[in-house]
Amino acid sequence: MKIAISSEGTDLSAQVGHRFGGSPYLIIVDLGTGNFEAVPNPGSLNQHGAGVQTIVLIISKGVKVALTGYCSPVARKHLEANGIAIFTGVSGTIEEVLVSYKKGKIQKTQAATIDHEPEKHLVDKARLIHAMKRSGNQFVSMLPIFLGIVLLIGLLNTFVSKNFLTALLSGNVVLDTFLGAFFGSILAGNAINSYVIAGELLHYGISLFAVTALIITWVTVGLVQLPVEIAALGRRFALLRNGICFMLSMPIAIITVFIVNLVTR
């Protein structure tokens, strides 16, 4: 079994880190073999999503128990939800803590500090409130752009003639699909906006080939996010992935429309 201990340093003589998410290192010890490794704690970087990265890191390492001085209720909830037991109020050097844990002392003395699930329905209620808050935030954050697009469509419907928009596209399947894929690649944002725009373009007489390519590339190709993708995953990966996705979007759009036409004929 593997355990993770928040640490101020990289060896067993280091002090236990006071905060689980904020300590510079995590010492991961395999109790079966006695081997340990010190990994930099992504949570200490204070970046967006760093706390989640700490949790993902210890899950990916197969850790079953976490020992630390203090752990926030949110982090505790995520750890426990992922099957990791968390013991707080731990102090001293990593070596001392390991000895105490092996002797079962920490389990006996600190287990009381674990927030046991008090009542099943109470936990469910707390989780529901958290989920509702999160969903509410996600929903509200997509509304401004979405409402802007709905208002813009009203303007386009009233002030721009259908002939003008249809004249922009030639009626040639390949060229229309290419243009749809191109516009989808340079536009970004929540996918719901692509559905609304594509649906309205369809009413204007723009071909289903073009709007399907637009829907596909809207999410899969991101010219706007390309610098961020390059920074995170490397230039070669980002350019290759976006290039292949763009090329593949066109045959997929064409095949989709052909199958739809066959099925609905």
Binding site: V56, I145, G154, T220, V228, T256
Partner: protein, 178 residues
């Protein structure tokens, strides 16, 4: 950084983000204002058209919220993402695809996590599959079906799933040894 400072930083970031995403609707409203002065009758028709469109999308939007809530309530993306495979085995393909489909929020939020996973040994194939499968949005399906019909949505969704596997294979081959 103290928890109070963190709260303040988060609040200021939220305000900035809200400011950024409000620019577009404010610009559209400004266009309405200008056009209202020139063509008041047509602007009113445009408003009515937008209102009708909003009424048309409102019922699927309620469903969107319900599905979002269900995903947030029952799905733990951190656990699934942690199961990303190193190579393109069936388990790696399935888990990265499922993770991509259930992942929500803007893509740039996920990049640091993917970077970390790759440093931990996740392969290029599963990461590419994750990024492509994000095109399937279960919580937005009601809106998509309202616009294009379920036959179109089913076909496009299936082809997107197959395409994500193809992208994963391409990336594994072209990025071999990188």
């Amino acid at each position: 950084m103290s928890s109070v400072n963190k709260e303040n930083v988060k609040e200021s970031k939220d305000k900035k983000a809200l400011g950024r995403i409000s620019i577009f609707p404010v610009c559209v409203l400004a266009c309405y204002g200008i056009l209202c002065a020139i063509e008041p009758h047509k602007s009113l028709i445009a408003m009515r058209t937008s209102g009708n469109l909003l009424l048309y999308i409102a019922p699927p939007l309620v469903l969107v919220f319900v599905i979002m809530l269900a995903l947030n309530l029952f799905v733990k993306p951190a656990q699934i993402v942690a199961l990303f495979g190193k190579g393109l085995r069936i388990k790696g393909i399935v888990f990265s695809m499922v993770a991509g489909i259930i992942s929500m929020g803007p893509i740039y939020v996920w990049y640091p996590l993917l970077k970390n996973l790759r440093e931990e040994g996740a392969g290029n194939g599963p990461i590419a599959i994750f990024l492509y499968s994000r095109a399937v949005k279960p919580f937005l399906l009601p809106v998509m079906i309202a616009y294009f019909g379920w036959i179109y949505v089913v076909i496009l969704t299936l082809l997107t799933v197959f395409a994500s596997i193809a992208i994963g294979c391409f990336m594994s081959v072209f990025m071999k040894g990188k």
